[in-house]
Structure formats: C-alpha cells, structure tokens
C-alpha cells in the first residue's frame, strides 16, 4: 500500500526534522511564536500531503519548501483558513522543555544580530551556511536565481562582520 508507506515515512521523519523545521521557520519569521505557529502548520500540511512525498528524497527539503509556501501564502498575513484552525501558539502555552540557560542567552545574543538582517538574507544564510545547501539547491528551494543566493549570503556575511566587529571593540567580555 504505497500511500500508507509514504505516510509512515513522513510521520516517522517529521519528529526528527521538526526542530530544524522550526529553526527554518525562525529564520523566516524572526520570532519564536510565529515560528512555532508556522512549524505546526507545516507539519499538519505535510501529513495531509504525505502522498505527494517521494520516498527516498530529502524530507527536510520538502518540508522547508512547504514551510516557505505556507508562510508566504497564508501565515504571513495571519490568515489561517482551516476549519477550526490552529490557534496562535501564545494561547496554547506549550511548555517547551527548557534548554540550559547559558545556551539560551548565547542563542539570544546571536539572534539579535541575525534578526537585524532582512528575512531573505537570514533564510538564505541558514540554508547555505548551516543546512549545507549548494547555491543552486538554495536557489531552487527559495525559487530565486543563483545570483540572488550569492548576493544574499555575501550581504549577510558583510553585515554580521561589521556588527561583530563593533562588538569586539566595545562590549566583548562584559557578560
């Protein structure tokens, strides 16, 4: 039963990919609540569309593309049209198991710097620098020309370089 197998592959893989899906959503949305909202909506969509997943291909990439479309087409405008609909995460109050505080602080600092980047640069940098996408793969996933990937990654690097340069001279080591 092909349908069932695909569905299992998506369901089984989803839990493992989910933290990275959320991180991708963080890069897209720039805030935690929207990221959780988007990651959940994407997971739900993925389960619905599991029959379209081609077994043996990258589940993470499939989910990233889906997340981006969900974000651009629906959530970005805060218009979730799905029956009862997923309520905003703030209301549900999921208690995430807490990572240690030190990690939190570090992540928060770096995210301050990265959040200052435009959304497009953040997402492209995540795919290329962290997720290991080639420029061509990132271009395909984001539906943009390769040259745009190149200039976004370069701009992100330059921008972070100048910011961390300021910090190095100013506030390093004060915490």
């Amino acid at each position: 039963m092909r349908w069932g197998r695909r569905n299992n592959e998506v369901r089984e893989g989803l839990a493992e990919v989910y933290p990275r899906l959320w991180r991708f959503a963080m890069a897209l949305t720039g805030d935690r609540a929207s990221a959780e909202d988007l990651a959940q909506a994407t997971a739900l969509r993925a389960i619905e569309k599991a029959d379209q997943f081609r077994p043996g291909t990258h589940l993470d990439r499939w989910l990233f593309v889906m997340a981006r479309r969900v974000w651009l087409n629906e959530l970005r405008h805060r218009a979730v049209r799905r029956g009862a609909g997923l309520r905003p995460v703030e209301e549900i109050e999921i208690t995430a198991p807490g990572p240690d505080t030190e990690t939190n602080i570090f992540a928060a600092e770096v995210f301050d710097v990265m959040n200052a980047l435009p959304e497009a640069q953040r997402v492209t940098a995540l795919l290329v620098l962290v997720e290991g996408f080639s420029y061509a793969e990132a271009a395909e996933a984001l539906e943009i020309p390769v040259g745009t990937v190149m200039s976004r990654v370069a701009a992100a690097r330059r921008s972070v370089a100048s910011r961390t340069g300021e910090q190095a001279q100013g506030t390093r080591g004060t915490r």
Binding site: R11, A15, P19, E48, A84, I94, P97, D100, E109, M114
Partner: protein
C-alpha cells in the same frame, strides 16, 4: 566599503569563494591575491568569522527548539492507514491542540517517551525482520553507538525472551537517543530506548502508551524505556537490564 585592498574582489566573489562556489579561475585569483595582500586576507578572515558566527548562532538555537507537538506525532492504531482514518486523526489532533497541550502533558509520560511510543507504534514485525543483522553485528553497533550517550553497554546481557535485531542512533532535540530493537518469540517488535537525561534515578513504572506495553525507569544520567510485546516479557527484560547496568 572597508579595506581598499579588497575592492579588487566583490563581496559576492569572496563569499562564493568561502562557500566553495567560486569558479576555478576566480578561486585561483583570490587565493593568489590573499597570499600577498594582508588587507585582503584580513577582510576574508572577517567574512569567514561572520559566517561561522551565524552558523554557531543557528546551531545553538536548535537547543531551544520545540518538539513536534504530541497531537501531531500520535499515530493511528497500527491497523493500516486510510485517508479517512487520517482525517479523523487530524480532527482529534486539532481538538487536543485546542484543549491545550500544556495541561495534557502534565498527565502524560515524559515527552521523549511519548516520541518513542509514537515511533514504536508504527513498527510491525516486518520492520525488524528486515534488519538483517547478525547478533554479533548488532552488538558491534551497540558498542559503537553507546559512547555517544556517555554510557558503557558492554555489560548489556541477552534479554530473556527477546532476540537482538539492531541498534540505531536517533535524536531528539539534538540529544542522542539509542534505540536497540528486539523481536519477541512471536516476532513482534520490542525496543529498548536510552536517552541521556539527568533527571535522577527512578524506579520502573509500567505504562501503556499508543496501545503498547512499556516499562520506564531512569538512572542518575539516563532514561530507559522498554516498549512493545507482552507485559511479562517486558518485566523480565527490564529486570535483566537493570541488574546488569
């Protein structure tokens, strides 16, 4: 722009070079110029450090990532999937989300155990029949993987009524989760799952999760879950594991 020396290459070119995306001719020119131009070398180092900072930042963020909400993870009973059943599952999932996952989790086993249960519920005898490993190879896998948990499993005994099939490393929120798969005498899948989890020791408790029997306990630094198969088999196996480790 910063250093005037770096004007000979654009940021795009330097960045592409750092990412291994520059064409060979450009790579050669940048590499040659960097050797003789201290300003350029410094600028490249700054851009490289910026890339690493972003990478580190994104990687650290992962530690704070939420888990897949249980309402989305919970599979249907393993009768075989139909679109109708899936639809019902989604409705149930949404209902749970609306009720509030926070309150729900209070009455449930720890999150990692629920994940394991969701996975295990999808396993059928064929899942582990196809593992195709000799017991020796499976033991070698365990020996190789256990150190990632900070655990020595060389004393892990044969478990009564269970046949070792394979071991694999899974992960939850960036933490390693070792799954050791067994088949019981009827070929049904049983798994011993171990996660590094410093919540202190606890005595074994019997659970019923996703329609499966399970026994959970923990030591100072690790959580254990034996799941699948018959109650009695699980109890004896849990006893054997606890006595040995």
């Amino acid at each position: 722009m910063t250093g005037q020396q770096s004007d000979m290459f654009t940021d795009e070119e330097l960045s592409a070079w750092l990412d291994g995306e520059a064409p060979p001719e450009l790579s050669a020119r940048i590499a040659a110029a960097r050797r003789t131009d201290a300003g350029l070398a410094e600028d490249i180092a700054r851009l490289e450090a910026a890339g690493k900072a972003m990478k580190g930042g994104f990687e650290a963020t992962l530690a704070g990532a939420p888990e897949l909400p249980a309402a989305l993870a919970a599979p249907e009973p393993s009768q075989g999937w139909t679109p109708g059943a899936l639809g019902a599952g989604l409705v149930a999932g949404l209902a749970l989300a609306a009720l509030g996952l926070g309150a729900w989790s209070l009455t449930r086993p720890p999150v990692w155990e629920r994940y394991v249960a969701s996975y295990q519920a999808l396993y059928v005898p064929q899942t582990i029949a196809g593992a195709g490993l000799s017991e020796e190879a499976a033991r070698a896998q365990i020996a190789e993987l256990a150190p990632q948990l900070g655990l020595d499993l060389s004393a892990l005994p044969d478990l009564p009524g269970l046949e070792l099939r394979r071991a694999q490393m899974l992960g939850l929120n960036g933490k390693p989760l070792l799954q050791i798969a067994y088949a019981d005498t009827s070929g049904r899948p049983v798994a011993l799952c171990i996660i590094a989890r410093g919540k202190g020791p606890s005595d074994p408790v019997a659970r019923r999760m996703e329609g499966l029997n399970a026994v959970a306990w923990s030591t100072e630094a690790h959580g254990f879950l034996l799941i699948g198969g018959e109650d009695g088999t699980l109890d004896r196996a849990a006893e054997a594991v606890r006595a040995a480790l």
